[in-house]
Subunit: 446 residues, 3 copies
């Protein structure tokens, strides 16, 4: 494209780049006041379709610390959108008023759509329950600052692991960096299957039963699950990983989440939700475990624990400023993070038929005019793909090829040979037939 | 007055000044980042009684680009106003907090009222359906950049020409600069009579039937009307103007508008509203026609046309920044636009009786305590005047003179001789009689 | 503590410091544009749980004039709070994004709570009907500028003296500076008893009947009450103060207030509310009386009086900027106001039992988790105390002492001897008994 570089997903950044961001953030944090010329004369636009005061202020503070200026649309949902303007048009216009856009939007994949239309870099500040990469970077940065590394850390995830967007992004990133995960979910709010599946398939993390009894109350009444990356350089750290349940005898960090009651289904309940306090944290295995929380908290962490030096959730929030300074400065070209950039699978148009994305909250469904369905291949054999906006796995019942009438099973070798740009994806044969494909297959030379 | 200079109406600016603004805007746009010291230390206050994120951000971006600071009241309608404060008081207070005010208000004439009370320059960022001069300047500037001139351009206006404030301001300004207008309205949404009347009377533009058949679909089912300015220097450009319908064989620009459905009367409909796409734009007469739109658009321009180089509506929006930089810098005294300033007819108090402004949305009706009726004479014989706030023509049934009891017809020579400051305006004789005027006329020496 | 210095209450400032602020404000006001480097690189966060556009813009303008930056959360009440976050947590997080917090909150005492949790200085921009110290400083500063002093001034307070927070803070401060107060309240909206009591007890101001007949209409139908401070240095100014009613023959200032109808009880009425106009101000005693108003006004001051040089309410509003510049610069350590700081009675935990604060709007009731009851002793004998947050006097029916079971009357000598940190405060004996105290008293060695 040659266009500006965006931060839509944490996966847009290579591990080396993330490391570079940490180092710059660390430098910024030494004196937040000393970088007031880095972005002098540049403007950041906060474009928030949902209120999120903390995220917004953190970005705006970062931009001001860099010497830049800020324009703010804190309630976009009530303004242009009310006049029926598409997100694409709004983005195109506002991107002419600023040097970088910080976008918060309720539709999953909105930031990817915006990046496609913006003249300037777009930072995803949360798109529905999809991604919030700067929160993830802030969490990783905090852990890196506290522990000096990410690889090989033992991190406990506790509470609502099901509905928390923060948790999902965080576990993928931890797995990517080779940390180990112990899940101690609230009953009924376990990590969703598709997350576990992705952890296994993309990051090689292997779920195992964990003996978390020494974690004390934290694990009470929970199905603790231990996830160890199986990549070689990580296996060397965990030689016993393959021998059944691991005993968790040292925890580096506990990541707490509030119950996302606003997303609860009718059968979900926050009764007996985990309540972390000094007593619970008295076990030996937790002696050096820092406690993190994306905030806001409700009752899941007792206020008196705030005095404990292991409570670092307010530091974690504060670190949102230097890490966002690093992100802004990088995307604005004011700091150089030399790196082999990450190369992700390309996006392809999802031609014809119904939009194959099963996620109705995806921007490809809510902004149909300017968000044509796109997909990214995640496996060639069997053929599997995810939505190019919201990353949800597509339902591919049957496939075709541009210029032919035959239909193929996604698990066929024929399907494997079709160039992604020529692929026609269908949920089922009926959909394909309705478009005039299929019927008697002509023999293929495959 | 000696007070600060304001931008309430496009008519506050002479053609030379507008030209000067264009030149400065053009200079600013060459490098938006290079003017960061022009307004260093100065503050602009955005005072918005209606949400208008795009307009507000565009102004704020312009002020930041000039190195100034911004304070924002994006929802004034919910704040002070809720405590029952008059607009005049609010303006007086906030004008002490800033070096320039940018005001958006739902009442027509609000900016004129504000200018009367502010200690600092006021910029009208939209007052009801009255004026939005910086939008008009942005539109003119865009045309000037694209075509190199305004005089003699053939501009098609399409869609809702009735309820669009933008269109009205734009046509007056185009007429003033000597452009030609072809109206292709949606059925029922024609240019209002009072606009056509003003075009004819003040700008000498003569409506004529236009042969717009070569405009293709654009003109389908529409009453195309061609308006040519008749001032000598323009006539020289259009020697055939007086010989009946002109054939429109070359269009320089098409200005599209969305249907302002929120202002529709019950009989109005947007069915079969114009839909501009690549097909429609294929006619030879439109080969060099740039397509403009004040945005937001709905369906009146197909998204696929965005790829066409003639689609300049996003550029148009982007140019809001440099033109507003020029306006801010001029009013703040940071750039010098040497010019013979425009001299407009003075405002006079509309003494006695009922407020003669027929526009109930006018600020003289909504802010009665601090917006005493004022008028501006637009014709001495017969006597005609417009409201000093909202510019709507007054209903003058009969007039009196301060210090006398006689009443006169506005078409009388007696009326012509009364000094405007002494004029008493009445809707009808009854109103005058109720105030003790009229009855048996004493002979006048006129 | 060693933490940052806050401005929660006007009582946090010594008279010398207030004088210092006036002098700096005066210097700033000479050229509002010349201090643009004082706070370069620093950030102020406006955290408003209630809309108050004027107060907010005034602070933000002040910060920009000092060269600082601003981040704004103008509708906090709708954001984090909606997610169930405590004020303490929000403050802790946002204080990491800025160098100073400006807080507006509906709960009384909220700013004191915030100060306890913030990493950076907190400025109280209004906490319910408790305090709004920068408004008070602005009022005092205006009077000081106009009259050259505060001591010995005769100030008339008119209108709603009951529900106006502004009035209460202002009278305490005037009394502290030794000004004389003439109260001319609207019937039924007199100064509350607790305010008069505090004026008498803390500032030695003695209420007396005033002969206010020469104030003209202002005093009509009102119970004028004259309050003269009795402290020695003030008495010397008013030698006749002890000889019955004083005649008010010269007024230095009239402070008007709007009826706070939104707080009216059902029996309150604003009928025949005072209406100040040029006629009313024609008395000789008022010839040099400046007229002040915290604004917004409704009908209590006629707009035509705005032309009178004695109307200084808009100047008063404008002076909010330089005085806030001085406050910001002082708390940010950018100007040095050398002074013996005020030493206030310490805060003590209100142990055990029910929260003794009778004010249900107090933050100790609304933020129970993180605002443990605190008190400040205002009299040792008899023992009296006020809430450490909202300053409301506590109901102390009976007291105990940590480590003992006996109960004592607050008027007893035993109570006098208990260290404040050991005091257990109870509304009544029943409450104490329920906690296992009291019963048969053991003899004390007192």
């Amino acid at each position: 494209m040659g266009g500006p570089r965006h931060l839509v997903s944490i996966d847009d950044l290579s591990l080396t780049e993330i490391q570079g961001l940490f180092e710059h953030a660390s430098r910024f944090s030494e004196n937040l006041h000393s970088s007031a010329d880095s972005c002098r004369g540049l403007i950041s636009a906060s474009v928030f379709y949902e209120a999120s005061t903390r995220t917004r202020l953190s970005f705006e503070s970062a931009m001001l610390r860099l010497g830049g200026g800020v324009v703010t649309a804190a309630d976009m949902g009530l303004s242009s959108a009310a006049k029926g303007e598409s997100l694409a048009d709004t983005v195109r216009i506002i991107s002419a008023y600023a040097d970088i856009l910080v976008l918060r939007h309720p539709s999953e994949g909105a930031a990817r759509l915006a990046a496609g239309y913006s003249e300037v870099p777009v930072i995803n500040a949360g798109d529905g329950s999809h991604e919030h990469p700067t929160q993830t970077l802030c969490d990783l940065y905090t852990l890196w600052i506290e522990k000096g590394r990410l690889e090989g850390l033992d991190v406990v995830l506790s509470g609502d692991l099901r509905y928390s967007r923060t948790i999902h992004s965080f576990v993928y990133a931890l797995a990517r960096f080779g940390a180990n995960l112990v899940c101690v979910p609230h009953a009924g709010l376990e990590l969703p299957d598709y997350v576990v599946k992705r952890l296994r398939e993309e990051y090689g993390a292997e779920p195992q039963a964990a003996d978390a009894s020494r974690l004390g109350d934290l694990a009470r009444a929970s199905d603790a699950m231990y996830i160890t990356p199986t990549k070689p350089h990580q296996l060397s750290l965990y030689t016993q990983a393959s021998r059944g349940a691991r005993r968790v005898d040292h925890v580096d960090a506990i990541y707490m989440t509030r119950p996302q009651t606003e997303r609860f289904a009718s059968e979900d309940s926050a009764n007996d939700y985990v309540h972390l306090d000094t007593m619970m944290m008295s076990g030996e295995a937790l002696a050096e475990a820092v406690v993190m929380h994306p905030l806001p908290r409700r009752d899941e962490i007792a206020p008196e624990f705030d005095q404990d030096p292991r409570s670092i959730y307010f530091k974690q929030a504060a670190r949102g400023v230097p890490i966002r300074m690093a992100i802004l400065a990088m995307l604005l070209g004011r700091i150089d993070i030399s790196s082999s950039s990450v190369t992700r699978e390309s996006l392809h148009p999802a031609w014809w038929g119904t939009n194959p994305c099963p996620n109705l909250g995806c921007v490809s469904h809510t902004e149909v005019r300017q968000a044509p369905p796109m997909f990214r291949v995640i496996s060639r054999f069997p053929l599997r793909g995810v939505c190019g906006y919201c990353s949800r796995e597509l339902i591919i019942g049957i496939v075709g090829c541009r210029g032919r009438v035959e239909l193929y099973s996604p698990t066929s070798t024929e399907a494997r040979r079709i160039e992604p740009d020529d692929l026609l994806l269908f949920r089922d044969e009926e959909e394909a037939l309705a478009l005039g494909l299929g019927g008697e297959p002509t023999p293929t030379d495959g």
